[in-house]
């Protein structure tokens, strides 16, 4: 069973993938909740436009999203050069860029899950909280958020899973640099491009399957636990 043992480089790819997906999921969560709230609870000019933009990465070819990221967040892109000069944040060809690409690709799934559960929360409960003295921020924190928690967890898991599998936008935006931007899918892709790489590709495929299954089980268990607390 020696062929199952991962090489140090492969371990790096696995660790990097988990890091990128986790950072993408956590960093996009506040924005995801805010956008979901805007779409579920507010009426404003340009709402369908916002909805369209949020969902765009789901429909566009990932390569297009990656290329757009390269144009705007690359070192010479308008946002990229600004962030570099003002705060020293660089996305291009760094693992942070991979996280950005994953976050954007997974954003529609995150927003969708949270928005759906937010729409199922009765606004009358929020009004009741208002009559008890809670201002809108407290209403959200003490009533809305606990009630949408199963949806938030489902959205986070979806986002994580999507980020683990993201390939097209990542490789276009930040390339395939071992140890910096080479995530699991990029590593598998690299193995398939070299002679004799089959066993390596298979090893990492099994790892991918294991991580995906673990994420699914975790989300099921958490959703059940939270669901029992809210609505047994």
């Amino acid at each position: 069973m020696d062929w199952l043992r991962l090489s140090p480089e492969e371990w790096v790819a696995v660790g990097l993938s988990i890091k990128v997906a986790t950072v993408a999921m956590i960093a996009s969560l506040p924005a995801g909740i805010f956008v979901a709230w805007l779409l579920a609870r507010r009426d404003f000019w340009g709402k369908s436009l916002l909805n369209g933009i949020v969902h765009l990465p789901l429909i566009l070819p990932p390569v297009v999203t990656g290329y757009l990221l390269l144009l705007s967040f690359g070192r010479r892109g308008p946002i990229g050069s600004f962030l570099d000069q003002c705060c020293g944040i660089v996305f291009s060809f760094r693992w942070t860029g991979a996280a950005l690409a994953c976050a954007i690709m997974a954003f529609p799934l995150l927003v969708r899950a949270i928005r759906l559960s937010m729409e199922s929360v009765d606004p009358k409960l929020e009004a009741a909280a208002g009559t008890l003295g809670a201002n809108p921020v407290w209403v959200f924190a003490t009533v809305t958020l606990p009630l949408i928690l199963p949806g938030v967890i489902a959205g986070m898991i979806l986002s994580f899973a999507k980020a683990m599998g993201e390939f097209g936008a990542t490789i276009t935006f930040v390339s395939n640099i071992p140890g910096e931007t080479q995530t699991l899918p990029s590593a598998i892709y690299t193995f398939t491009q070299v002679p004799g790489g089959d066993t390596g590709a298979l090893r990492l495929t099994l790892v991918s399957i294991a991580i995906a299954m673990a994420a699914l089980f975790a989300s099921e268990a958490m959703a059940r636990h939270v669901g029992r607390r809210i609505d047994p």
Binding site: A128, A129, L132, G133, P146, I230
Partner: protein
């Protein structure tokens, strides 16, 4: 303590244009559905922003559109009990009760949760979650939750409408205790004349967005012409009487007021206690001579003061008995046979059995505030 409202608000085809003032302990906003009751109470609570007008409770102005004043709901400190209890499903009963208290400024926290829990009889429910409560229990917890934030005014929007009769009978005494003991003025929305007659000090009767009548309950409820058809058969006078004796053999209670003595099915209460009695107009018969050998136990002497004929051909006769108006509903035929006209001395006869529990056991306690 007083509520002062004068607002105009247009919602599609519906126009609310209502003004009322109240100093009573329990003011009922009464009228058929679609008359604007809920819009008006939502304006009081801040859930609806009126297009024009002024809302004040005591000296605090909540809305004044001319001066661009609008105090948001969470700063009004007005308790609100909804028709659907709207308990937070993710919190226990105890946490629901504590929710508003947490947002109340410390120096204004006058409500004592222990007393509220005791008054509403919800002490044994504290650890449960709302979905493990019956409809009546939910509504009691909702009342407690509103009280626990030491409100300066309590709004109740049809709190009994979604409950069956048994549950209603379970909650009504608690609302009576609240009115008599909690010293928080209540604005109570209802379309049920039975509830309003039993609970209200003052009534604001609404009709298609306008105030059709307003004033003390005993006067407004005489206006049967303003009642919707299905409520009119429940209409009638309200008498405040004091208990003067209990007849344990026949299980009856003797009541006394300026209108005369009455016997009703037994009411638990001490002598001297005041009882509010709803005398439905359809339960009152009229006679020109004092009836002899008749089973009806209550015979009151009075004079006809007003006669009103409605569209269905029935006649509501107001009889003044010792200064207390009583309403009798008779047919046009009876009116013509007896030649009833204002000033005529008559006897009003009321069967004791016509007082069901709903109409009779209505003690009003505590001094007027």
């Amino acid at each position: 303590m007083g509520v002062d409202v004068a607002v105009r608000h247009r919602l599609g085809n519906f126009e609310l244009d209502a003004a009322f003032q109240s100093k009573g302990r329990l003011t009922a906003l009464f009228g058929p559905s679609g008359s604007g009751k809920t819009s008006l109470i939502n304006i009081l609570g801040g859930l609806l922003k009126p297009q024009q007008g002024r809302v004040a409770v005591d000296a605090t102005v909540f809305v004044d559109t001319e001066r661009h004043v609008f105090v948001p709901t969470h700063k009004r400190r007005i308790g609100y009990v909804f028709q659907d209890a709207r308990l937070f499903p993710h919190l226990t009963v105890a946490q629901n009760l504590g929710y508003g208290r947490w947002f109340t400024p410390a120096r204004e926290r006058t409500a004592q949760t222990g007393l509220i829990v005791e008054m509403l009889g919800i002490g044994n429910l504290m650890a449960r979650r709302p979905d493990a409560l019956s409809g009546g229990e939910k509504q009691r917890v909702a009342i407690g939750r509103a009280l626990a934030c030491s409100p300066r005014l309590l709004l109740m929007d049809e709190p009994l409408a979604s409950l069956d009769d048994a549950r209603k009978a379970e909650i009504l005494p608690y609302i009576e205790r609240l009115r008599d003991e909690a010293r928080i003025p209540i604005v109570y929305v209802s379309h049920s004349i039975a509830e309003v007659a039993r609970l209200a000090d003052d009534i604001v009767m609404l009709e298609r967005g306008r105030v059709a009548a307003a004033g003390p309950a005993s006067q407004v409820l005489l206006r049967t012409d303003l009642l919707a058809d299905q409520e009119r058969i429940e209409g009638g006078a309200i008498l405040e009487m004091s208990i003067v004796g209990q007849d344990t053999d026949y299980r009856m209670t003797l009541l006394r007021s300026a209108a005369g003595d009455m016997r009703v099915p037994q009411i638990a209460g001490a002598n001297g206690q005041t009882v509010r009695l709803r005398l439905r107009a359809r339960d009152v018969m009229l006679a020109l001579k004092e009836p002899q050998a008749i089973s009806g136990l209550n015979i009151l002497r009075g004079k006809v003061t007003a006669i009103r004929e409605d569209a269905s051909g029935n006649v509501d006769v107001t009889v003044g008995c010792g200064g207390q108006p009583i309403l009798a509903r008779i047919t046009r035929l009876s009116r013509d046979r007896l030649a009833i006209k204002p000033g005529l001395p008559v006897y009003a006869i009321v069967k004791s059995v016509s007082f069901d529990r709903e109409a009779a056991a209505l003690a009003m306690r505590g001094p007027e505030t």
